[in-house]
């Protein structure tokens, strides 16, 4: 009796995993095919012949791809660090310091993030132009932070709300000030929350397109998504180049996720209370 609904659940999970992973698998397979293999009919499922030529070509012929990836990395890392710093402090104040009207403020913060980024573009461009922030890492980091900070505040505030308040009270009795409590009690105990939020912000920033396209106009400053999107030529669509570049652009994110996923361990507060 009990196994039937579970079987259905597993089938559903497997189906959704296959559907969401198929494009990525196809992308990886495509990057390993020859040009003939890509256009072959009926379609090749497995690369035949299997080749790494696309990777060698892209690294030797268009080294700017590695630059794009580096740019993306710098911007995403900067955005993550800044967003976690400000989002952490704001989230702590809003969820734990008994601020008046904290709920209203939280809704305001959420409302701000509801503007579509495209609607901000003209004024952002103007301002960044006059401030000399176009084509700088600082500029795009500021823009991305503005975009993802509301999310960070919400995520971290709700994580802080799950911490037992007695630990902070004990710290107050021990003589810690609010900043000290935040730094040496709340941050260590909220590490899983910071890692999870940071990972998501990093991926958001890595993939963000419209702002990166408009604010980084010089080729040497482009981020990976923008750079790759500019590969298609006027007459041809170089599938092998695009799929290979995309795979290369995904790799850093995969590595970072793999590293930090191990860090997202629950039960870090175990032993504090009962």
């Amino acid at each position: 009796m009990k196994t039937r609904p579970r079987f259905g659940l597993y089938a559903l999970v497997i189906l959704s995993v296959v559907i969401s992973f198929l494009p990525i698998i196809w992308l990886v397979l495509t990057s390993l095919k020859t040009t003939e293999g890509i256009y072959a009919w009926p379609p090749q499922y497995l690369p035949d012949p299997f080749t790494l030529k696309n990777y060698i070509n892209i690294i030797t012929n268009s080294p700017e791809l590695l630059l794009y990836v580096l740019n993306s990395f710098i911007v995403a890392l900067g955005c993550t660090v800044v967003a976690l710093s400000f989002g952490g402090m704001a989230g702590y104040a809003l969820s734990r310091l008994g601020m008046r009207r904290a709920g209203v403020l939280m809704v305001f913060i959420l409302a701000v993030s509801m503007f579509p980024p495209v609607s901000l573009l003209p004024s952002l461009f103007q301002n960044f132009l006059s401030l000399g922030l176009l084509n700088t890492y600082t500029g795009l980091i500021i823009a991305h932070t503005g975009l993802f900070l509301p999310f960070t505040v919400w995520m971290l505030a709700s994580y802080f709300a799950t911490l037992p308040s007695e630990i902070e009270e004990a710290a107050r009795m021990d003589g810690m000030g609010f900043f000290r409590i935040f730094w040496s009690i709340v941050i260590p105990l909220s590490w899983p929350g910071f890692v999870a939020t940071g990972l998501i912000v990093f991926i958001f920033s890595w993939n963000e397109f419209p702002l990166a396209l408009v604010l980084m106009t010089q080729n040497a400053m482009r981020t990976a998504p923008v750079g790759i999107s500019l590969y298609p030529g006027e007459y041809a669509f170089p599938w092998e180049t695009i799929s290979t570049a995309t795979v290369i652009a995904i790799v850093p994110i995969l590595i970072i996720t793999a590293i930090f996923q191990k860090q997202i361990v629950g039960g870090l507060t175990a032993g504090a209370g009962k």
């Binding site: 007695e166 630990i167 009270e169 710290a171 105990l189 032993g271 504090a272 009962k274």
Partner: protein, 358 residues
């Protein structure tokens, strides 16, 4: 001079008065227990002394100094929390040393003080462990150690034993008694457990709905409860209550008519109705043939053996009384018995106000 004086202290949350006009002086070295059901304001009172909760009205004096607006760390108080509230990412040593480190006490002195406290509490072997690797009792000992290390003027305990299992609770209760005898520091202890209150307290404050119902030694609150609430709260099983009406002859009769008393041991003025209270352990149960004043025939409706004691549910006509008797050779369900009441062990309360007649 570490007397704690609460001068008509009150706490309001919006329109809700959590604590009203709390007026009490806690003597130096006294172990004071705040006792009451949940939501009676006992924890709020403790948190106001600690400085974790602001004081809406009245003054808090510790050692003669007004503390209402003083930071918790500067009040000279240390608190032990119900959930221990240890820093889970720090070792036992660091947990205990934190307050001293923040006070910039020299390292050698910190090591010495933490070392001595750990030895006193049997924690020496665990100093380098994290709280997660300790048992519940050990964690609570660390929490107590963290308070002791600071040598505070006043110890505050917020239901420190309620997370422990029954056996450990008894053990820790005794340890706390020994500790208090040793340190002799002024202590305020919050609990809803009357056994803890009776065994630990020099004086008990019983609170009900944000108001102090009675302050007294364990003996006083047990022997002379100030009102019906205290009488019913202290003692286990709870006191029996019976409503009595004055009859034509000036004597008193229970509503069902099966119990009659020629007189009450206290002056009830012109009242025509009162509520009689008698503790289960003060009902003397003997053979059915017994005769004498304040002796009534009764039926055993139910008997429950607790071990050393047994509880008898007795029917006297329509009236029901619970009696506590010795656990060997006691009457059983269905037996006919006689019960005798002793005038000095009867409590009489005002039906309207609940206050005791003295």
């Amino acid at each position: 001079m570490t007397e704690v004086k609460l001068d008509r202290i009150g706490k309001k949350y919006g329109a809700v008065e959590a604590v009203q006009q709390f007026d009490l002086t806690i003597r130096e070295g006294e172990f004071l227990v705040l006792l009451g059901p949940s939501g009676c304001g006992k924890s709020t009172t403790l948190r106001m002394i600690a400085g974790l909760e602001s004081i809406t009205s009245g003054d808090l004096l510790i050692g003669g100094d007004r503390m209402n607006d003083v930071d918790p760390k500067d009040r000279g108080v240390a608190m032990v929390f119900q959930n221990y509230a240890l820093y889970p990412h720090k070792t036992v040593f660091d947990n205990m040393a934190m307050a001293l480190k923040l006070q910039k006490v020299p390292t050698a002195e910190i090591n010495d003080r933490v070392g001595r406290t750990a030895e006193m509490l049997g924690l020496t072997d665990y100093l380098q462990r994290k709280p997660a690797a300790l048992s519940g009792g050990q964690r609570q000992r660390v929490a107590i150690g963290r308070a002791i290390v600071r040598t505070p003027k006043v110890f505050l305990f917020d239901e420190p034993l309620s997370n422990l299992d029954a056996k450990l609770r008894v053990k820790m209760r005794m340890e706390l008694q020994e500790l208090h005898a040793r340190l002799n520091a002024t202590s305020v202890y919050v609990t809803h457990d009357q056994v803890e209150a009776m065994t630990l307290a020099d004086r008990i404050v019983i609170m009900n709905g944000g108001v102090v119902a009675q302050v007294g030694t364990p003996r006083e609150v047990y022997d002379h409860p100030a009102d019906e609430f205290v009488a019913g709260f202290i003692g286990s099983p709870a006191m029996n209550f019976l409503d009595l009406t004055r009859d034509d002859t000036g004597g008193w009769r229970s509503d069902c008519g099966s119990l009659s008393l020629p007189a009450l041991p206290v002056d009830t003025g012109t009242r025509q109705r009162v509520r009689l209270g008698v503790r289960p352990e003060h009902i003397e149960v003997s053979g059915a043939a017994a005769q004498g004043p304040l002796t009534f025939p009764a039926q055993v409706l139910l008997d429950e053996l607790l071990g050393a004691d047994a509880l008898l549910s007795l029917g006297i006509g329509e009236a029901r009384l619970l009696a506590r008797v010795g656990g060997t050779g006691h009457p059983v369900k269905g037996d006919s018995v006689a019960i005798r009441l002793t005038p000095s062990q009867l409590h009489v309360f005002d039906c309207e106000t609940g206050a005791a007649f003295r």
